[in-house]
Protein backbone atom coordinates (compact mmCIF):
# COMPACT_ATOMS: atom_id res chain seq x y z
CA UNK A 1 0.00 0.00 0.00
CA UNK A 2 2.81 2.38 0.86
CA UNK A 3 4.35 1.98 -2.57
CA UNK A 4 1.11 2.94 -4.18
CA UNK A 5 -0.07 1.89 -7.61
CA UNK A 6 3.05 3.40 -9.14
CA UNK A 7 4.96 0.16 -8.46
CA UNK A 8 4.11 -2.01 -11.50
CA UNK A 9 4.53 -5.35 -9.68
CA UNK A 10 2.26 -4.16 -6.89
CA UNK A 11 -0.26 -2.92 -9.43
CA UNK A 12 -0.17 -6.31 -11.15
CA UNK A 13 -0.87 -8.30 -8.02
CA UNK A 14 -3.66 -5.92 -7.11
CA UNK A 15 -5.16 -6.36 -10.56
CA UNK A 16 -5.07 -10.12 -10.03
CA UNK A 17 -6.66 -9.78 -6.61
CA UNK A 18 -9.30 -7.44 -8.03
CA UNK A 19 -10.06 -9.81 -10.85
CA UNK A 20 -10.42 -12.78 -8.53
CA UNK A 21 -12.70 -10.81 -6.22
CA UNK A 22 -14.87 -9.39 -8.97
CA UNK A 23 -15.09 -12.50 -11.08
CA UNK A 24 -15.02 -14.96 -8.20
CA UNK A 25 -18.50 -16.21 -8.96
CA UNK A 26 -17.74 -16.84 -12.62
CA UNK A 27 -14.41 -18.52 -11.88
CA UNK A 28 -16.09 -20.74 -9.30
CA UNK A 29 -18.85 -21.68 -11.75
CA UNK A 30 -16.30 -22.69 -14.37
CA UNK A 31 -14.12 -24.61 -11.93
CA UNK A 32 -17.09 -26.54 -10.66
CA UNK A 33 -17.38 -28.10 -14.13
CA UNK A 34 -13.74 -29.19 -14.20
CA UNK A 35 -13.00 -32.86 -13.48
CA UNK A 36 -11.03 -32.02 -10.32
CA UNK A 37 -14.05 -30.61 -8.50
CA UNK A 38 -16.71 -32.57 -10.33
CA UNK A 39 -15.20 -35.93 -9.36
CA UNK A 40 -14.92 -35.01 -5.70
CA UNK A 41 -18.25 -33.30 -5.11
CA UNK A 42 -20.53 -35.80 -6.75
CA UNK A 43 -23.65 -35.06 -4.73
CA UNK A 44 -24.55 -31.52 -5.72
CA UNK A 45 -22.98 -28.94 -7.96
CA UNK A 46 -23.64 -26.21 -5.37
CA UNK A 47 -21.24 -27.90 -3.02
CA UNK A 48 -18.53 -27.81 -5.65
CA UNK A 49 -19.25 -24.15 -6.41
CA UNK A 50 -18.96 -23.35 -2.72
CA UNK A 51 -15.62 -25.12 -2.45
CA UNK A 52 -14.40 -23.30 -5.55
CA UNK A 53 -15.45 -20.03 -4.00
CA UNK A 54 -13.40 -20.74 -0.92
CA UNK A 55 -10.34 -21.46 -3.03
CA UNK A 56 -10.82 -18.35 -5.17
CA UNK A 57 -11.20 -16.17 -2.07
CA UNK A 58 -8.06 -17.60 -0.55
CA UNK A 59 -6.13 -17.05 -3.78
CA UNK A 60 -7.38 -13.47 -3.87
CA UNK A 61 -6.11 -12.88 -0.35
CA UNK A 62 -2.73 -14.34 -1.34
CA UNK A 63 -2.65 -11.93 -4.27
CA UNK A 64 -3.55 -9.04 -1.97
CA UNK A 65 -0.69 -9.91 0.33
CA UNK A 66 1.61 -9.70 -2.70
CA UNK A 67 3.46 -12.90 -1.76
CA UNK A 68 2.58 -14.84 -4.90
CA UNK A 69 5.53 -17.20 -4.71
CA UNK A 70 5.50 -17.71 -0.97
CA UNK A 71 4.05 -21.08 0.05
CA UNK A 72 3.84 -19.82 3.62
CA UNK A 73 1.59 -16.90 2.66
CA UNK A 74 -1.43 -16.86 4.97
CA UNK A 75 -3.91 -17.41 2.14
CA UNK A 76 -2.41 -20.78 1.20
CA UNK A 77 -3.24 -22.40 4.52
CA UNK A 78 -6.99 -22.84 3.90
CA UNK A 79 -6.27 -23.79 0.28
CA UNK A 80 -3.99 -26.56 1.39
CA UNK A 81 -6.60 -28.05 3.66
CA UNK A 82 -9.26 -27.78 0.99
CA UNK A 83 -7.09 -29.20 -1.77
CA UNK A 84 -5.49 -31.86 0.40
CA UNK A 85 -8.90 -33.46 0.88
CA UNK A 86 -9.67 -33.21 -2.83
CA UNK A 87 -6.36 -34.39 -4.20
CA UNK A 88 -6.22 -37.32 -1.80
CA UNK A 89 -9.66 -38.39 -2.97
CA UNK A 90 -8.42 -38.09 -6.57
CA UNK A 91 -5.28 -40.04 -5.76
CA UNK A 92 -7.39 -42.73 -4.11
CA UNK A 93 -9.40 -43.11 -7.31
CA UNK A 94 -6.17 -44.13 -9.00
CA UNK A 95 -4.81 -40.93 -10.52
CA UNK A 96 -1.06 -40.46 -10.61
CA UNK A 97 0.53 -37.36 -9.16
CA UNK A 98 1.13 -35.85 -12.60
CA UNK A 99 -2.50 -36.40 -13.57
CA UNK A 100 -3.70 -34.60 -10.48
CA UNK A 101 -1.17 -31.86 -11.15
CA UNK A 102 -2.56 -31.46 -14.65
CA UNK A 103 -6.08 -31.15 -13.27
CA UNK A 104 -4.96 -28.47 -10.85
CA UNK A 105 -3.16 -26.75 -13.72
CA UNK A 106 -6.42 -26.66 -15.65
CA UNK A 107 -7.83 -24.28 -13.05
CA UNK A 108 -5.58 -21.57 -14.43
CA UNK A 109 -7.18 -21.44 -17.86
CA UNK A 110 -10.58 -20.41 -16.53
CA UNK A 111 -9.04 -17.43 -14.72
CA UNK A 112 -6.91 -16.48 -17.73
CA UNK A 113 -9.96 -16.51 -20.02
CA UNK A 114 -11.77 -14.10 -17.73
CA UNK A 115 -8.72 -11.83 -17.61
CA UNK A 116 -8.64 -11.87 -21.38
CA UNK A 117 -12.25 -10.69 -21.43
CA UNK A 118 -11.33 -7.66 -19.34
CA UNK A 119 -8.52 -6.50 -21.62
CA UNK A 120 -10.58 -3.54 -22.80
CA UNK A 121 -11.12 -2.17 -19.31
CA UNK A 122 -7.58 -2.76 -17.98
CA UNK A 123 -5.57 -1.83 -21.03
CA UNK A 124 -3.15 -4.15 -22.83
CA UNK A 125 -0.11 -3.41 -20.68
CA UNK A 126 -1.80 -3.98 -17.35
CA UNK A 127 -3.42 -7.13 -18.67
CA UNK A 128 -0.02 -8.51 -19.60
CA UNK A 129 1.33 -7.67 -16.17
CA UNK A 130 -1.68 -9.23 -14.46
CA UNK A 131 -1.37 -12.30 -16.66
CA UNK A 132 2.20 -12.92 -15.53
CA UNK A 133 1.19 -12.64 -11.90
CA UNK A 134 -1.80 -14.87 -12.37
CA UNK A 135 0.39 -17.55 -13.95
CA UNK A 136 2.86 -17.21 -11.06
CA UNK A 137 0.05 -17.57 -8.56
CA UNK A 138 -1.22 -20.76 -10.14
CA UNK A 139 2.30 -22.18 -10.45
CA UNK A 140 2.67 -21.69 -6.68
CA UNK A 141 -0.72 -23.31 -6.19
CA UNK A 142 0.48 -26.39 -8.08
CA UNK A 143 3.59 -26.60 -5.94
CA UNK A 144 1.42 -26.31 -2.84
CA UNK A 145 -0.79 -29.15 -4.05
CA UNK A 146 2.16 -31.40 -4.88
CA UNK A 147 3.73 -30.67 -1.53
CA UNK A 148 0.48 -31.52 0.22
CA UNK A 149 0.23 -34.80 -1.66
CA UNK A 150 3.82 -35.72 -0.86
CA UNK A 151 3.26 -34.93 2.78
CA UNK A 152 0.21 -37.12 2.84
CA UNK A 153 2.08 -40.00 1.21
CA UNK A 154 4.84 -39.60 3.74
CA UNK A 155 2.34 -39.90 6.56
CA UNK A 156 0.87 -43.03 5.01
CA UNK A 157 4.32 -44.58 4.72
CA UNK A 158 5.15 -43.78 8.35
CA UNK A 159 1.86 -45.22 9.53
CA UNK A 160 2.29 -48.38 7.49
CA UNK A 161 5.84 -48.86 8.71
CA UNK A 162 4.51 -48.74 12.26
CA UNK A 163 1.75 -51.19 11.41
CA UNK A 164 4.24 -53.51 9.76
CA UNK A 165 6.35 -53.50 12.91
CA UNK A 166 3.37 -54.30 15.06
CA UNK A 167 1.67 -56.83 12.88
CA UNK A 168 4.49 -58.77 11.31
CA UNK A 169 5.57 -60.46 14.51
CA UNK A 170 2.77 -62.64 15.85
CA UNK A 171 3.60 -65.27 18.45
CA UNK A 172 1.44 -68.36 18.07
CA UNK A 173 0.68 -70.91 20.72
CA UNK A 174 1.03 -74.22 18.87
CA UNK A 175 0.54 -76.66 21.69
CA UNK A 176 0.46 -76.75 25.45
CA UNK A 177 3.59 -74.84 26.51
CA UNK A 178 4.84 -74.62 22.94
CA UNK A 179 4.97 -71.30 21.07
CA UNK A 180 6.17 -70.38 17.58
CA UNK A 181 7.11 -67.18 15.76
CA UNK A 182 6.84 -67.26 11.97
CA UNK A 183 9.29 -64.60 10.81
CA UNK A 184 8.44 -62.95 7.50
CA UNK A 185 10.60 -60.48 5.61
CA UNK A 186 13.94 -58.91 6.36
CA UNK A 187 14.99 -58.79 9.98
CA UNK A 188 16.58 -55.50 10.97
CA UNK A 189 17.59 -54.45 14.45
CA UNK A 190 14.30 -52.75 15.29
CA UNK A 191 12.20 -55.68 14.13
CA UNK A 192 14.29 -58.36 15.75
CA UNK A 193 14.13 -56.44 19.01
CA UNK A 194 10.34 -56.46 18.85
CA UNK A 195 10.31 -60.14 17.87
CA UNK A 196 12.49 -60.93 20.85
CA UNK A 197 10.36 -58.96 23.29
CA UNK A 198 7.12 -60.45 21.97
CA UNK A 199 8.51 -63.97 22.10
CA UNK A 200 9.81 -63.61 25.66
CA UNK A 201 6.51 -62.14 26.81
CA UNK A 202 4.69 -65.06 25.20
CA UNK A 203 7.03 -67.53 26.92
CA UNK A 204 6.01 -66.01 30.26
CA UNK A 205 2.33 -65.91 29.36
CA UNK A 206 2.08 -69.49 28.10
CA UNK A 207 4.75 -70.88 30.43
CA UNK A 208 6.35 -72.18 27.28
CA UNK A 209 9.19 -74.64 27.53
CA UNK A 210 9.88 -74.72 23.81
CA UNK A 211 9.85 -71.87 21.30
CA UNK A 212 10.11 -72.37 17.53
CA UNK A 213 11.62 -69.57 15.46
CA UNK A 214 10.53 -70.23 11.90
CA UNK A 215 12.59 -68.34 9.32
CA UNK A 216 10.90 -69.73 6.21
CA UNK A 217 9.82 -66.21 5.28
CA UNK A 218 13.20 -64.60 5.80
CA UNK A 219 14.77 -64.03 2.39
CA UNK A 220 18.43 -63.93 3.41
CA UNK A 221 20.43 -64.60 6.53
CA UNK A 222 23.56 -62.55 7.02
CA UNK A 223 25.78 -62.32 10.06
CA UNK A 224 23.63 -59.57 11.57
CA UNK A 225 20.40 -61.55 11.25
CA UNK A 226 22.17 -64.61 12.65
CA UNK A 227 23.38 -62.55 15.58
CA UNK A 228 19.83 -61.38 16.29
CA UNK A 229 18.62 -64.99 16.18
CA UNK A 230 21.37 -66.13 18.53
CA UNK A 231 20.48 -63.37 20.98
CA UNK A 232 16.84 -64.40 20.94
CA UNK A 233 17.78 -68.02 21.52
CA UNK A 234 20.10 -67.10 24.39
CA UNK A 235 17.46 -64.90 26.06
CA UNK A 236 14.81 -67.61 25.75
CA UNK A 237 17.20 -70.14 27.26
CA UNK A 238 17.87 -67.86 30.23
CA UNK A 239 14.13 -67.77 30.82
CA UNK A 240 13.97 -71.54 30.82
CA UNK A 241 12.64 -72.16 27.32
CA UNK A 242 14.47 -74.01 24.61
CA UNK A 243 14.56 -72.58 21.09
CA UNK A 244 14.49 -74.36 17.77
CA UNK A 245 15.19 -72.52 14.54
CA UNK A 246 13.21 -74.03 11.69
CA UNK A 247 12.57 -73.25 8.05
CA UNK A 248 16.21 -73.19 7.03
CA UNK A 249 16.25 -73.47 3.27
CA UNK A 250 19.18 -75.22 1.53
CA UNK A 251 20.51 -71.91 0.20
CA UNK A 252 20.40 -70.38 3.67
CA UNK A 253 22.16 -73.38 5.19
CA UNK A 254 24.95 -72.92 2.66
CA UNK A 255 25.13 -69.18 3.33
CA UNK A 256 25.41 -69.76 7.06
CA UNK A 257 28.28 -72.22 6.55
CA UNK A 258 30.04 -69.98 4.05
CA UNK A 259 29.80 -67.01 6.40
CA UNK A 260 31.39 -69.15 9.09
CA UNK A 261 28.53 -68.56 11.54
CA UNK A 262 28.50 -70.93 14.48
CA UNK A 263 24.98 -72.17 15.16
CA UNK A 264 26.18 -75.39 16.78
CA UNK A 265 24.65 -74.45 20.15
CA UNK A 266 21.21 -74.03 18.58
CA UNK A 267 18.84 -76.78 17.57
CA UNK A 268 17.90 -76.36 13.91
CA UNK A 269 15.41 -78.09 11.65
CA UNK A 270 14.65 -77.81 7.96
CA UNK A 271 10.91 -77.34 8.23
CA UNK A 272 8.38 -76.19 10.79
CA UNK A 273 6.86 -79.68 10.68
CA UNK A 274 10.20 -81.22 11.69
CA UNK A 275 10.57 -78.72 14.50
CA UNK A 276 7.06 -79.48 15.72
CA UNK A 277 7.75 -83.18 15.66
CA UNK A 278 10.98 -82.65 17.56
CA UNK A 279 9.22 -80.49 20.14
CA UNK A 280 6.36 -82.92 20.69
CA UNK A 281 8.67 -85.91 20.85
CA UNK A 282 10.70 -84.09 23.44
CA UNK A 283 7.85 -83.16 25.69
CA UNK A 284 6.92 -86.49 27.27
CA UNK A 285 3.88 -85.32 29.13
CA UNK A 286 2.88 -82.26 31.03
CA UNK A 287 5.36 -80.74 33.40
CA UNK A 288 7.78 -83.53 32.60
CA UNK A 289 9.67 -81.40 30.15
CA UNK A 290 13.33 -82.13 30.73
CA UNK A 291 15.49 -79.10 31.20
CA UNK A 292 18.86 -79.47 29.63
CA UNK A 293 21.82 -78.09 31.44
CA UNK A 294 25.42 -78.47 30.46
CA UNK A 295 25.12 -82.29 30.54
Amino acid sequence: MTDGPSDPARAGTEAVAGLLRRRGEQVAQRWADLPLFQAVFTVTRDEAVEACHAVVDSLASVAESGRLEDLEAPGFQPIRQQLAAMTSSRARSGLSMSQVDREVGALRDAALDLLEAETDELGVEDTCEARIHLVTLFATLRVAVIETMLQENQEIILRQRQQLLEMATPVIKLWDRLVAVPLIGMLDSARSQIVMENLLEAIVEHKATIAILDITGVPTVDSLVAQHLMKTVASARLMGAECVISGIRPAIAQTIVQLGLDLSTVTTRATLADALQWALGRDDGRGQQAVRGQS
Partner: protein
Protein backbone atom coordinates in the same frame (compact mmCIF):
# COMPACT_ATOMS: atom_id res chain seq x y z
CA UNK B 1 20.80 -70.52 60.32
CA UNK B 2 23.66 -72.79 59.55
CA UNK B 3 26.66 -70.72 60.51
CA UNK B 4 25.62 -69.51 63.97
CA UNK B 5 27.40 -66.28 63.24
CA UNK B 6 27.96 -63.83 66.02
CA UNK B 7 28.18 -60.63 64.02
CA UNK B 8 24.90 -58.79 63.47
CA UNK B 9 23.54 -59.16 59.95
CA UNK B 10 23.21 -55.83 58.17
CA UNK B 11 20.37 -56.95 55.90
CA UNK B 12 17.89 -59.79 55.90
CA UNK B 13 19.66 -62.96 54.82
CA UNK B 14 18.17 -65.15 52.11
CA UNK B 15 16.57 -68.31 53.45
CA UNK B 16 17.61 -71.64 51.94
CA UNK B 17 14.55 -73.86 52.12
CA UNK B 18 14.75 -77.64 52.17
CA UNK B 19 11.88 -79.11 50.15
CA UNK B 20 12.54 -82.75 50.91
CA UNK B 21 15.67 -83.43 48.92
CA UNK B 22 15.62 -80.25 46.89
CA UNK B 23 16.93 -76.90 48.09
CA UNK B 24 15.01 -73.80 47.16
CA UNK B 25 16.28 -70.23 47.22
CA UNK B 26 14.23 -67.19 46.23
CA UNK B 27 16.16 -64.00 45.64
CA UNK B 28 14.05 -60.90 46.12
CA UNK B 29 15.32 -57.42 45.64
CA UNK B 30 18.84 -56.20 45.69
CA UNK B 31 21.64 -58.44 46.86
CA UNK B 32 24.38 -56.61 48.80
CA UNK B 33 27.92 -57.99 48.79
CA UNK B 34 27.76 -59.52 52.26
CA UNK B 35 24.37 -61.07 51.58
CA UNK B 36 25.84 -62.67 48.45
CA UNK B 37 28.74 -64.12 50.43
CA UNK B 38 26.28 -65.26 53.09
CA UNK B 39 24.14 -66.94 50.43
CA UNK B 40 27.08 -68.92 49.06
CA UNK B 41 28.01 -70.05 52.55
CA UNK B 42 24.44 -71.00 53.42
CA UNK B 43 23.89 -72.90 50.18
CA UNK B 44 27.07 -74.93 50.37
CA UNK B 45 26.45 -75.66 54.05
CA UNK B 46 22.89 -76.72 53.35
CA UNK B 47 23.94 -79.03 50.52
CA UNK B 48 26.57 -80.66 52.70
CA UNK B 49 24.09 -81.01 55.56
CA UNK B 50 21.20 -82.43 53.54
CA UNK B 51 23.10 -84.25 50.82
CA UNK B 52 20.71 -82.69 48.35
CA UNK B 53 21.22 -83.29 44.63
CA UNK B 54 19.37 -80.22 43.44
CA UNK B 55 19.20 -76.49 44.00
CA UNK B 56 16.46 -74.28 42.55
CA UNK B 57 17.07 -70.54 42.49
CA UNK B 58 14.00 -68.44 41.82
CA UNK B 59 14.60 -64.93 40.48
CA UNK B 60 11.08 -64.21 39.23
CA UNK B 61 10.72 -61.15 41.44
CA UNK B 62 13.91 -59.50 40.19
CA UNK B 63 13.46 -56.86 37.53
CA UNK B 64 17.19 -56.25 37.23
CA UNK B 65 20.21 -58.52 37.31
CA UNK B 66 23.61 -56.86 37.09
CA UNK B 67 26.94 -58.47 36.29
CA UNK B 68 27.68 -58.87 40.01
CA UNK B 69 24.56 -60.91 40.68
CA UNK B 70 25.16 -62.90 37.50
CA UNK B 71 28.62 -63.78 38.81
CA UNK B 72 27.25 -64.69 42.24
CA UNK B 73 24.73 -67.02 40.61
CA UNK B 74 27.43 -68.62 38.47
CA UNK B 75 29.62 -69.10 41.54
CA UNK B 76 26.79 -70.60 43.57
CA UNK B 77 26.12 -73.01 40.69
CA UNK B 78 29.79 -73.90 40.33
CA UNK B 79 30.34 -74.53 44.04
CA UNK B 80 27.13 -76.56 44.24
CA UNK B 81 28.33 -78.67 41.35
CA UNK B 82 31.48 -79.50 43.32
CA UNK B 83 29.17 -80.82 46.02
CA UNK B 84 27.26 -82.88 43.43
CA UNK B 85 24.16 -80.70 43.38
CA UNK B 86 22.78 -79.35 40.12
CA UNK B 87 21.48 -75.77 40.00
CA UNK B 88 18.46 -74.69 38.01
CA UNK B 89 17.62 -71.01 37.55
CA UNK B 90 13.90 -70.30 37.44
CA UNK B 91 11.54 -67.52 36.42
CA UNK B 92 13.79 -64.98 34.76
CA UNK B 93 11.84 -62.03 33.36
CA UNK B 94 12.06 -61.05 29.66
CA UNK B 95 13.70 -57.68 30.36
CA UNK B 96 16.31 -59.34 32.55
CA UNK B 97 17.06 -61.96 29.89
CA UNK B 98 17.46 -59.31 27.20
CA UNK B 99 19.77 -57.22 29.39
CA UNK B 100 21.96 -60.17 30.29
CA UNK B 101 22.29 -61.25 26.65
CA UNK B 102 23.13 -57.70 25.60
CA UNK B 103 25.83 -57.67 28.29
CA UNK B 104 27.12 -60.98 26.95
CA UNK B 105 26.28 -62.79 30.19
CA UNK B 106 24.51 -65.85 28.84
CA UNK B 107 25.27 -68.00 31.91
CA UNK B 108 26.43 -70.90 29.74
CA UNK B 109 26.95 -73.51 32.46
CA UNK B 110 23.63 -73.00 34.17
CA UNK B 111 20.43 -74.92 33.58
CA UNK B 112 17.23 -72.90 33.37
CA UNK B 113 13.52 -73.60 33.66
CA UNK B 114 10.37 -71.56 33.33
CA UNK B 115 8.64 -72.51 36.56
CA UNK B 116 9.55 -74.16 39.84
CA UNK B 117 7.37 -77.10 38.77
CA UNK B 118 9.49 -77.55 35.64
CA UNK B 119 12.70 -77.29 37.61
CA UNK B 120 11.50 -79.87 40.13
CA UNK B 121 10.50 -82.14 37.26
CA UNK B 122 14.09 -82.23 36.00
CA UNK B 123 15.04 -83.78 39.34
CA UNK B 124 12.23 -86.31 39.04
CA UNK B 125 10.16 -84.54 41.67
CA UNK B 126 6.55 -83.90 40.72
CA UNK B 127 4.83 -80.85 42.07
CA UNK B 128 1.27 -80.97 40.82
CA UNK B 129 -0.08 -77.93 39.05
CA UNK B 130 -3.22 -76.50 40.49
CA UNK B 131 -4.40 -73.72 38.21
CA UNK B 132 -3.14 -74.75 34.80
CA UNK B 133 -6.54 -75.12 33.11
CA UNK B 134 -8.18 -72.11 34.76
CA UNK B 135 -5.24 -69.84 34.03
CA UNK B 136 -7.41 -67.44 32.05
CA UNK B 137 -9.55 -66.79 35.08
CA UNK B 138 -6.66 -65.56 37.16
Amino acid sequence: MTGDREDPLPGPSIPVLDLGGLLFVSIQGELPDDAAVQLQEDVTAAITRTGSRGLIIDISSLDMVDSFLARVLAEVAASSRLLAARTVLVGMRPAVAITLVELGLTLPGMATARTVTDAAATFGVTISDTVREERNAT
